[in-house]
Symmetry: C2
Subunit: 482 residues, 2 copies
């Protein structure tokens, strides 16, 4: 077991090197592993179980809001990708090409989808004839490929998993409503499932999706003070409809182009959870997204299998019956080793039970987030555990919210902005004139980018751009970002 | 609506041209559509909803039998695919190659996975050290690509969706037990979910998976008398373990290679459901795999929205509350048009409600499978509907089983065999000597292949091969197959 012990304790402290800490946690907790394919990762069962919980919760919301799932081809003929000019310009440098299939060179090379607007747009052009066929509200769960130079598990990989919603509407108003509705769905999911507060806003022109009219994003603050884009929702206007001839006969009999949207979140959310809640001991999982919400560790002398295990099994069954996800760790290891392993893997609640506990008809409960320990009677255990899990979920969200508030600053002049932006301070909110030049200049000076701007779209009264002093169009949220 | 009407009635009769009937049903029922990518299809929402029901039921069984899900890269370096000699020989002609990525030619071309033994085997070699690490019981839900010359929606497409289980074991006995266990899981799923009886058996050497020791399959009989391989489970022996160096320290401290299995079913199952149960009016869906189990059609005069719709909505809610999947068709179409549309789309039960029904506090129920109509009181409707759905499910299974029995023949001499095999008679069971030569000869003479052979593996006593007369090793199930 010495090898395994070493494995567990080998996590670089977060304060010492956040990036190494992250990779250590990903690998030691068996969330993901490197693969023999450059830039591609293997999502291991513990990491995939988190993705399954995200999928289940999000799929339910996607359906509740009227969408249905479908599946479109992995390959996109190159000629289709090039139809929307901005789109191809944005994605061409990142795509992988299939040039040979079935032992022959292909007449036209195929793009491995980096996103599916082009192939889905082509189908919508076939399916939509009349305003009666609208809206089309589709979603797809799929893998996509974007060639990346520098990769990091979950955060940026050549292949990743995601969902991509693609909708077509009769009017621009409906398109905008849809775009904003899905942004809200994402933000609510991050809060309720991942205990992760996000800043909702609109992207600057330079940061919007290639081919979109407007891109909205949710931005989260990671434990090292860097921001992470956690999801995007695009109002495509009529750009793709025009490129792919998606027309319909309107109520007034005129021929119109549909109004499109697309929106997606990815396996990056797993990385976001790790970096929002983790600590020096490893992962800290919010109960709602934890594959195991409770780990039961039997305590006792050599004969614990006879004296303690039957009780542990009964407690496991009680909790399972109450709908709680439980792992009973009955391996032949010492309890202390099990404690650190499950701490490292972020299980929200540890339940210890030994001979003395059995005598007193109680168990010990240890919270992963606060490390508090408390005893609880076996009688009525399930509701007690459920309440504790709910409390942990809320506490983690409150802690992350407090962290973000403590790491959100304001700056109205450039000297203050630059000083405040030193290191990794979190968000710095500052007035901006709307020019790409100032945006680029600020990035060069400080490495910070505009994450997004408030949804209400109102210009801050009487304020000048933090860099050039010209009238500000928005209070932009700046940060150094992943 | 004339265009739509034409659309619905344009299904080629099954008896006239089964293949065209199949494609008509797939397209008219909006299960799938052709895409601009040769050999690839779009799975439309109604077809994808069937896949989601299959996934949910099978994923539950996969987990119940101790497996967990994970995700491995889409791309496989060509050098890995070539490690197992038979494997590469079997798959190389069918693979698609990525040669360019990120604007550059790749040093080594990447294979788009046709199956994942090679990439998963590489990871298992890293993960497995000791017998304590075994078994590994993983499954993956993914897309795979196999270049096909002739394609047909769901049955054979260049890209398709599937699950692939990959396990590693300490002993050959465990490997064999796993292989057979998953075959049983597939067979039970086909019966209970798809109302489709299957023949479980072992493949001949020439039909086994490239790189396997033994391949087991489930074979179903389609409505045209052709067989369809509906799932396979492979005992890989130590072939991949040796090719990929998957070794472990055994209990006796010796270094051993693991024993592997892999098993999969695909979106082909959707095609199997269509061809097992469909009729001249279109799709007939078993209730357990029907996206909508009941369609409610309000009947009435022009004012039906005021007089009938509220009652229809109340009934819808009653059924939804009872866990039944319901579609209330409140579109502005005449009821007769709705009847044929939902018949064509295979909804198991139609519920009609009109002003006279409301007066009598009853509804009319029409079964898709038998076309029987019966009235039922609104009071206690949900349990009544549930019982009817269960009866439809069982009746469809019984009908398919009867069809298979009526289309399973025996032949002990070659003349009888050839005569019986004329047309598309279903299965012909005949003794076989085990030689690839006879197998190939029979195929040339009759187009029939050995689908599989009984699991018990006993030679039929005193029988000679149907073709050569040499002692038979098995009673093989022959058929013309998809």
């Amino acid at each position: 077991m010495s090898q395994k012990d070493a494995f567990v304790t080998e996590i670089t402290p977060r304060s010492q090197d956040f990036s190494r800490w992250y990779v250590d946690v990903v690998r030691r907790a068996e969330l993901a592993d490197y693969s023999p394919v450059k830039g591609c990762m293997v999502i291991r069962p513990y990491g995939y179980a988190i993705w399954e919980l995200i999928q289940a919760a999000l799929d339910k919301e996607i359906k509740r809001t009227g969408h249905v799932n479908a599946y479109f081809p992995l390959f996109i003929p190159n000629s289709l990708l090039t139809r929307e000019a901005e789109h191809v310009e944005g994605f061409a440098p990142q795509v992988a090409y299939v040039t040979h299939g079935g032992g022959e060179e292909l007449e036209e090379k195929l793009v491995v989808r980096p996103t599916s607007e082009a192939i889905i747009g082509t189908m919508y052009a076939k399916w939509v004839q009349s305003w009666r066929d609208l809206p089309i509200l589709l979603n797809q769960w799929a893998n996509v490929v974007r060639w990346e130079k520098v990769t990091r598990p979950f955060l940026r990989t050549t292949e990743f998993l995601w969902q991509e919603g693609h909708t077509a509407h009769e009017t621009p108003e409906e398109g905008e409503t849809e775009t904003r509705k899905m942004l809200d769905v994402y933000a609510d999911l991050c809060a309720s499932l991942l205990a992760m507060p996000v800043v909702k806003g609109i992207k600057s022109e330079s940061e919007k999706f290639a081919g979109a009219l407007r891109t909205y994003s949710i931005e989260a603050l990671m434990g090292d003070g860097r921001a992470l884009q956690a999801g995007t929702s695009h109002n495509l206007g009529q750009n793709f409809a025009k490129a792919f001839d998606i027309t319909f006969q309107a109520r007034d009999k005129s021929l119109q182009h549909v109004w499109g949207t697309s929106w997606g979140v990815t396996t990056r959310l797993i990385g976001a959870v790790i970096m929002t809640h983790g600590d020096d001991s490893g992962l800290v999982l919010p109960p709602n997204v934890a594959p195991y919400q409770v780990v039961i560790v039997p305590i006792g002398r050599d004969n614990w299998r006879e004296t303690v295990l039957p009780t542990a099994q009964r407690l496991e069954q009680d909790l399972v019956n109450a709908g709680i996800r439980v792992m009973l760790d009955a391996r032949d290891e010492r309890p202390g080793w099990k404690f650190s392993e499950w701490e490292m893997r972020g299980v929200p609640l540890r339940l210890e039970v030994g001979p003395k506990d059995i005598e007193k008809a109680q168990v010990m409960l240890a919270r992963r987030d606060t490390r508090e320990k408390l005893s609880a009677p076996m009688d009525g255990l399930a509701p007690r555990v459920r309440a504790l899990l709910e409390d942990i979920q809320q506490s983690l969200l409150a802690r992350a919210l407090k962290f973000r508030e403590d790491h959100t600053h304001r700056a109205d002049d450039y000297e203050t902005f630059k000083t405040t932006m030193e290191g990794r301070p979190g968000f710095v909110v500052a007035p901006w004139c709307g020019s790409a030049e100032c945006e680029a200049h600020i990035k060069t000076d400080t490495q910070a980018t505009i994450r997004n701007m408030p949804l209400d779209g109102t210009a801050p009264e009487g304020k000048g751009c933090v860099r050039c002093g010209n009238p500000a169009v928005a209070e932009a949220w700046f940060a150094k970002a992943y």
